[in-house]
């Protein structure tokens, strides 16, 4: 009954896998090319080029090579412990420069801690810290949104010249529609999972993957999975009564949705017209799944990136679920009325 849709999913995942394979290959090439010439090596090289810098190489009892760069003129002291495949730990001590609040930032597995004292700043960089699983989910969400956009017109594709096959199957239109939506949803989930696997593989090419699981990671994962599904449902609802031109809807959906989100979040000015435009787009943005796709993060207790508020995440999950169901129902209702 859904064989054609399975073939579409298979073909799409095959293309996705080919792209991923190319990315893995590229990562391997980069790893080999920059094995002794990475950003940290460049930093050391730059520091060493300063004639005032004194460089000392030692080996720690566990065998870890340590490089110490000391520049008495700049009052900069850098200690680099090279753990090889397990990354580097870099401690930079330099004079204070006005800013006096402690910071903690994380980009993927790179953790940066900045500690201020009265006269100096100590920055500790750990290049192989834990990566909260929500980081992988965020990447997977983005890729799945692309897959959802490509898949987002299953009924329009049938209506574009194949209704005589589709509507003469021994199954009700509702059951057929639900089966198609289910198959596509599985395809999106498969693409999501594949992306996470590939992200871990690519990371492991450069360093040991260390997974972190914060208190909100599960909620983040759920929301990162529901977002592409809700987006898919929206596109299906928009295209399910179309026989032509559905590609334009798929192509324009992203820019339109992003413009709506942007206009809903910024205030152009304080004039009544600008306020009215803002309010209008704010209302429209509530039914735009991409509005709930902000991945603004902060660092959790274990150092992983998570959404700021778990209550916010829970609300997003509820809203995305409702949007997914409503758009799915709208799509099925329109499909029931399609004529060849």
């Amino acid at each position: 009954m859904t064989y054609v849709e399975w073939l579409r999913i298979r073909n799409l995942l095959r293309i996705t896998a080919i792209v991923f394979a190319a990315l893995i290959l590229l990562a391997i090439v980069l790893r080999l090319a920059f094995v002794h010439n990475g950003p940290y090596e460049a930093m050391v090289s730059h520091a060493m080029s300063d004639p005032n810098t004194k460089v000392t190489h030692t080996t720690l009892p566990d065998g870890t090579p340590r490089t110490i760069l000391d520049n008495p003129v700049d009052k900069t002291h850098i200690i680099i412990d090279d753990h090889g495949y397990a990354g580097k730990r870099i401690v930079i001590t330099e004079p204070a420069h006005g800013h006096d609040t402690n910071d903690r930032e994380q980009v993927g597995s790179v953790h940066v801690d900045e500690t201020h004292s009265s006269r100096s700043v100590t920055t500790t960089i750990d290049t192989n810290g834990t990566t909260d699983f929500s980081t992988y989910a965020g990447i997977a969400c983005f890729i799945s949104l692309i897959l959802a956009t490509i898949l987002g017109a299953p009924f329009a594709r049938e209506a574009d010249g194949h209704l005589e096959i589709t509507l003469t199957k021994p199954v009700s239109r509702e059951r057929f529609a639900l089966a198609i939506l289910g198959v596509d949803a599985l395809g999106i989930v498969a693409g999501w999972a594949l992306t996470i696997i590939v992200a871990i593989i690519i990371e492991s090419i450069f360093e040991i993957p260390r997974f972190g699981w914060g208190p909100n990671t599960a909620l983040f994962l759920a929301s990162a999975l529901l977002l592409p599904l809700a987006w898919y449902a929206l596109l299906v609802a928009l295209t399910s009564s179309m026989k032509r031109g559905y590609g334009a809807v798929q192509g324009l959906a992203w820019p339109v949705a992003l413009v709506i989100t942007a206009l809903a979040s910024i205030r152009l000015s304080d004039t009544p017209l600008a306020q009215a435009i803002h309010n209008l787009f704010w209302v429209i943005s509530r039914i735009d799944p991409l509005t709930y796709g902000s991945f603004k993060g902060s660092v959790s207790a274990n150092g992983g990136t998570v959404m700021t508020h778990s209550s916010d995440l829970a609300a997003r999950i509820v809203i995305l679920t409702v949007l997914m169901i409503v758009y799915g129902a709208l799509a099925v209702m329109q499909w029931r009325r399609v004529e060849a």
Binding site: L167, P170, R337
Partner: protein, 303 residues
């Protein structure tokens, strides 16, 4: 399965009436030909029969009950244009049918494709129009359906494959399958169909057994010495379905007693009179062709 009963079917697209008050019964086990000019409403009728288009009014019943989705296990449809998925191979279409219909026989489909000389490994996009039609025919005939609805099933086929499709239809009919088909090739309809309906501008203008229609209708052709001949009541004779006049030549389409009408034409002064048997093409053309200015047309419905 399946006596198909269509009652007062009407389908309107905006201001355009595609099918208008169409009533038709297709008995189980018959080969039924639906013929008509382009845009007459044949395809729309098929679509309404299959619930591909929702009738504006009227009903379609199969053995007395409205069409249910499960009935498609035993109803096969070949549309007039290709509905194959361009990006799929023919073999994948076979697999699609196998997964969809319990009675579908992949072996039979492959056998028919071989007969039509179609390579199952080919993608649909690489097939010619005729090969696509043949593929759809093969997929439909491999289903062992009890009702086959074929819209122009020989469209684009070469004469050899046209003959193959006709033979398939005749063989299926011999198994008791009900076949409803349309074609512009009147000769094929005449060869395969037991009953026909002629549809024009959405309405059935003639319907019946092919043999009956042919047996009951004759053309009486008379040549008069000049153009001043008089009808003298012929236009109101209930046995005359139509009168066409072309200068000195007059052609009467009779529904009965052709001999009497020929004698009457002679008595009106015709110098030469002959009675011609009609073939289905003549019947079709008389049923759907608009009258020319000089013709005197007696409505077919009168007979």
């Amino acid at each position: 399965m399946s006596t198909v009963s269509i009652e007062r079917l009407r389908k309107v697209y905006g201001p355009f009436v595609a099918v208008d008050d169409l009533t038709l019964t297709i008995p189980s086990g018959t080969v039924f030909g639906l013929i008509g000019p382009n845009g007459a409403g044949k395809t729309t009728t098929f679509k309404c029969m299959l619930d591909l288009a929702r009738p504006t009014a009227g009903t379609v019943r199969y053995d007395g009950v409205p069409l249910q989705p499960q009935a498609f296990e035993t109803i096969a449809y070949v549309p007039e244009r290709s509905v194959l998925y361009d990006w799929m191979t023919v073999a994948e279409h076979i697999e699609m049918q196998r997964r969809t219909y319990k009675a579908f026989s992949p072996a039979r489909a492959l056998e028919l494709l071989e007969e039509f000389q179609i390579d199952p490994k080919k993608r649909a996009r690489s097939l010619s129009k005729g090969m696509r039609t043949a593929t759809m025919v093969a997929l439909a005939f491999a289903r062992e359906a009890s009702l086959l609805i074929l819209d122009e099933p020989t469209s684009g086929l070469d004469p050899i494959n046209q003959r193959s499709v006709l033979n398939l239809m005749i063989n299926e009919a011999a198994r008791g399958t009900t076949i409803v088909f349309s074609s512009h090739q009147i000769g094929q309809v005449e060869r395969a169909a037991e009953r026909i309906a002629i549809i024009d501008r959405g309405r059935i203008v003639l319907e019946g057994e092919v043999d009956d229609l042919k047996a009951g209708r004759k053309i009486i052709e008379g040549i008069f010495p000049d153009e001043s001949w008089s009808l003298d009541g012929l236009d109101s004779d209930r046995r005359v379905a139509r009168i066409d006049r072309n200068g000195r030549i007059v052609r009467l389409l009779s529904t009965d007693a052709a001999g009497d009408l020929a004698a009457r034409m002679e008595s009106l002064g015709a110098v030469a009179v002959r009675i011609v048997d009609l073939n289905l093409e003549d019947i079709f053309l008389y049923a759907v062709s608009p009258a020319n200015e000089t013709a005197v047309v007696v409505e077919e419905t009168r007979s």
